[in-house]
């Protein structure tokens, strides 16, 4: 007899001043059948928290703004406490397509992976600004390789699918944007099986510029000295 195990899947969305988009993001996820949604409001100054609650998400609120990495970890901890078997990291600014979640979760299960990392470079659905495509992403990939020892097609992507075991092992300590490299680095270090998966990214804003990249490097270097 084939044993069918139903997985509890939780979507974790870190949100900071996303009142305009967060409602549509949650609605999109609900439409695709994902009803376990945690929104971590990182002390937004707008109505993100109200909109997210009205939209039906489980909302947790940071009393201080601590950054995207910090919000993700809070979301992970809440999802784990809610009994999540699989956690999906998803952005609150409508840059991801909720239609990609199922494929990524299925891929994780089919291949028996510990983590699936979204990549906008594996198909041509994403409209990537040319400067980003030709200059920033290639440089980020090399830096990412140096920091994490992983050669990925997309160095910075907030779409991730993690098993419970992975989320328990990977404790994000980078509060800012360096959490992305930290997660990949820890996946590699812990010998967790992972693969990339094509996801669509819509650029509403430009995203990480050069200044953001420099800050990530600074945070990363400093973290080496923190015990």
């Amino acid at each position: 007899m084939v044993e069918i195990k139903y997985m509890t899947i939780w979507i974790v969305i870190p949100a900071y001043n996303e009142e305009k988009q967060i409602g549509r993001v949650i609605a999109g996820l609900f439409e695709h059948g994902w009803h376990n949604v945690v929104v971590v409001d990182d002390n937004s100054s707008d109505n993100t928290i109200v909109v997210a609650r009205k939209s039906g998400a489980l909302v947790v609120h940071h009393v201080l703004n601590r950054g995207q990495g910090a919000a993700l970890r809070t979301g992970d901890e809440l999802a784990l406490a809610m009994g999540a078997d699989v956690i999906v990291h998803f952005d609150g600014d409508e840059q991801f397509d909720p239609g990609d979640v199922k494929g990524a979760v299925d891929y994780l299960q089919e291949k028996g992976l510990g983590a699936v990392l979204g990549s906008k470079m594996l198909d041509n659905r994403s409209q990537i600004p040319w400067l980003k495509k030709l200059l920033i992403i290639p440089i980020s990939r090399v830096i990412n390789l140096m920091l994490t020892a992983a050669w990925l097609s997309d160095a910075h992507n907030g779409f991730r699918v993690l098993t419970r075991a992975t989320a328990e092992k990977i404790i994000i300590t980078q509060d800012g944007m360096a959490h992305n490299s930290e997660i990949i680095g820890k996946i590699k270090k812990n010998g967790i099986k992972f693969a990339e998966f094509p996801v669509k990214v819509v650029y509403n804003e430009y995203g990480q510029g050069v200044g953001g990249g420099v800050k990530i490097l600074r945070d990363w270097i400093l973290s080496v000295f923190i015990r």
């Binding site: 947790v60 601590r66 950054g67 910090a70 809070t74 901890e77 000295f225 923190i226």
Partner: protein, 119 residues
Amino acid sequence: MYKIRGFMYLIQILLALFALFALLKTKQKFSLGDIGRRDLLVWVLLWVAVIVVAIAPNSAAVFAKMTGVGRGADLVVYLALALLFYLFFRMTVRIEKMKREITVLTREISLKEKNSESK
């Protein structure tokens, strides 16, 4: 230039007094438990060195010759710069660590609030 009793410049006296004051403060901080033994030793050595160099500037020249820097005053400036850089670096690391601790606290508060809401 003002020489006191014809053998010391005013700046030497001021520097030595300042270092003495700093020594006193260091001792107080150690007594209160604000700094550990290692820090106490480093700071005492530093301020004693400042007093020695202030009272007998030629002593720095001896070390400067030994290290090949040339002038005593240059050696003092180099060492002071190196120390400042080191202290700045240590402070940055400490602030970073404190930020992480604030995050842990923030998270605890958030999750506790959530927990009490659901009860």
